[in-house]
């Protein structure tokens, strides 16, 4: 059991009042809030240890380099990896672009890249670009109406076959609250294919060990796991990273530069051109320290309880349709539609109650299209979320029905809406 009240004490923003209501921040899947400890680590770095890394040889330079490389080691430990397998990027979108660009260098017209219809745009568009550049074919997993990966259809279509060179799928959908069956997909993948998991919504919420996941590359983003914005991570198996060409060219990623050509540094530095996000790495290191001290198992349990409570209470709201499974083992997001009220309008009424959710397609337009809707509302939970915040959400939704539903859209008598 988490001591949620104690945890909330580390997040001053959670005490904010919005209009006349207490803030209920249910948008952590978009970006998480930040604990004092993380902010203090960034402040301490800037105020007492700031210098450039690697190229600055003085004492402060050594301290900054040490802090940066220590952050890499902390992140590595957090997912059961080696430090030289951790590449710092700007966010998970950049990590996926790095993967798509470098793996793209070995694609040709006979090759196939496989994603899924449930992906975030940042795990679709870079692959579309790679396929356009190389003539490779982009294919994708469909999902069932309930949101599960449709493995029968994939088998019937021979989606994964000997032409498959890359498979890049979500470890946890930011809409459906479930992820791809990674074990099965890894088992289907031919020896020569590289399997990538988008872990942006998994790594912040559950204990992750890359060896257990079984994939070759994993991407995630610092700002969704209590860290600062401006830092993301690409983890890769050493031998896979070794085999990849550089992504961006510049300082730090080289071995020897001559005007006639250059040789490149070993991973991870090969993929980190220019001055890296130093303070952000330090902040991310402090964030994973914070998460590890509380314990990822305890955080996963807490999220699970909050989501189970939310699923139960959302059943009380007339006209509410949940995307993805309505029970069982789910991640920390619940996306839904409310009667025929546009998600923007739902979001707006909730905001007037201090309840912060996201309304829109959550950068997953193809998935919404597949589910036959244009957009949805999404609530998401994290280690600081309380049941009373879920209660505030439910009150806000009932009020939304009164405001739009009962008075304008559904006619005067929306069944079950107490007035």
């Amino acid at each position: 059991m988490l001591d949620v009240e104690k945890i909330r004490g580390d997040f001053p923003i959670l005490d904010r009042v919005i209009g006349e209501s207490k803030l209920a921040y249910l948008d952590s899947a978009n970006t998480s809030q930040k604990p004092r400890q993380m902010v203090a680590a960034v402040e301490d770095h800037y105020l007492h240890h700031n210098a450039n890394v690697s190229r600055a040889m003085h004492t402060l330079g050594a301290e900054a380099t040490e802090a940066f490389e220590q952050a890499r080691a902390k992140v590595a430990r957090f997912i059961g990896a080696q430090p030289n397998e951790i590449i710092f990027t700007k966010n998970s979108s950049e990590a996926l672009n790095l993967a798509a660009y470098t793996l793209g260098s070995r694609l040709g017209p006979d090759d196939e890249v496989v994603v899924s219809v449930a992906e975030h745009h940042s795990n679709i568009v870079p692959w579309q670009m790679a396929c356009e550049r190389t003539g490779a074919t982009l294919r994708w997993f469909d999902v069932t109406d309930e949101g599960y990966f449709d493995m029968d259809k994939a088998r019937d279509e021979a989606l994964i076959n000997e032409r498959t060179k890359v498979i890049s799928v979500t470890a946890m959908s930011n809409v459906l609250g479930i992820g791809a069956p990674l074990k099965q997909i890894v088992a289907w993948a031919p020896q020569t294919a590289v399997v990538i998991a988008d872990g942006a919504q998994l790594v912040p919420h559950q204990p992750v060990n890359v060896a257990d996941l079984g994939v070759d590359l994993l991407t995630f983003t610092g700002h969704k796991m209590l860290g600062p914005t401006g830092i993301g991570v690409l983890w890769g198996k050493s031998e896979v990273l070794q085999s990849l060409p550089p992504f961006l060219g510049g300082g730090e990623m080289i071995e020897i530069v001559k005007m006639t050509g250059s040789t490149y540094a070993q991973p991870p530095h090969r993929f980190e051109a220019g001055t890296p996000p130093i303070a952000q790495a330090v902040g991310l290191g402090a964030a994973v320290d914070y998460l590890s001290q509380i314990g990822m198992d305890a955080i996963a349990d807490h999220d699970h309880q909050i989501i189970a409570y939310a699923l139960e209470r959302l059943r009380e709201v007339p006209g509410l349709r949940i995307l993805g499974p309505t029970s069982g083992d789910r991640g920390s997001v619940i996306a839904f539609t409310l009667a025929d009220i546009h998600p923007h309008d739902v979001m707006q009424v909730l905001d007037s109650h201090g309840v912060a959710v996201r309304g829109g397609h959550h950068c997953a337009r193809p998935l919404h299209e597949r589910l036959g809707i244009q957009a949805s509302v999404r609530m998401s939970a994290y280690l600081y979320t309380t049941k009373s915040e879920i209660d505030a959400l439910i009150d806000g939704l009932l009020d939304t029905l009164r405001f739009f539903g009962a008075s304008t859209i559904l006619g005067a008598s929306t069944p079950g809406v107490p007035s």
């Binding site: 209009g19 546009h342 309008d345 707006q348 829109g360 244009q374 957009a375 405001f403 304008t408 859209i409």
Partner: protein, 151 residues
């Protein structure tokens, strides 16, 4: 809740419920599709004009109450008027929306559109309110460009 009723004035809710001039009609000279990529709102709009006269504006829209009501009110204001009058209205509407609540529309000119005065205090919704207007402006520009191209 005072804030909320500033945004969702009854006029807006009424237009949302009963959209004026909605549906795609023939004939038309230009068809444009505009989206609000952050939320997925989509609007297909057709312009039928004769010289400087806007004969008809028809549309099919998926979107929130603000964007739908705004497009509905827009059609009331501009159908039967001149293109240059629309461009003038559009400029005033845009400047008001970007004015963070410092500018109010004049009721004699803007009719039901004055209900959008409150939207200016919700910067996240300005794009929703502008969707139909931006689409019509785009259609007008394309139609004018055609004229120039064939000269």
């Amino acid at each position: 809740m005072t804030d909320l009723s500033n945004l969702y004035q009854d006029i807006i809710l009424d237009h949302y419920k009963t959209k004026h001039h909605s549906g795609l009609r023939e004939p038309y000279q230009v068809e444009v599709t505009h989206v609000n990529p952050s939320c997925g709102d989509e609007l297909v709009l057709r312009l039928n004009c004769s010289g400087d006269q806007i004969v008809d504006v028809s549309y099919e829209a998926l979107g929130c109450s603000i964007s739908q009501a705004s497009t509905s009110i827009l059609t009331d204001l501009v159908i039967g008027g001149s293109v240059s009058y629309f461009l003038e209205l559009n400029e005033g509407f845009r400047v008001m929306l970007e004015g963070h609540g410092t500018i109010e529309l004049d009721e004699d000119t803007y009719g039901d559109a004055i209900a959008f005065n409150g939207v200016a205090q919700f910067p996240a919704r300005v794009k929703c309110a502008m969707l139909g207007w931006a689409a019509l402006k785009d259609a007008v520009i394309r139609e004018q460009a055609k004229g120039e191209g064939s000269d």
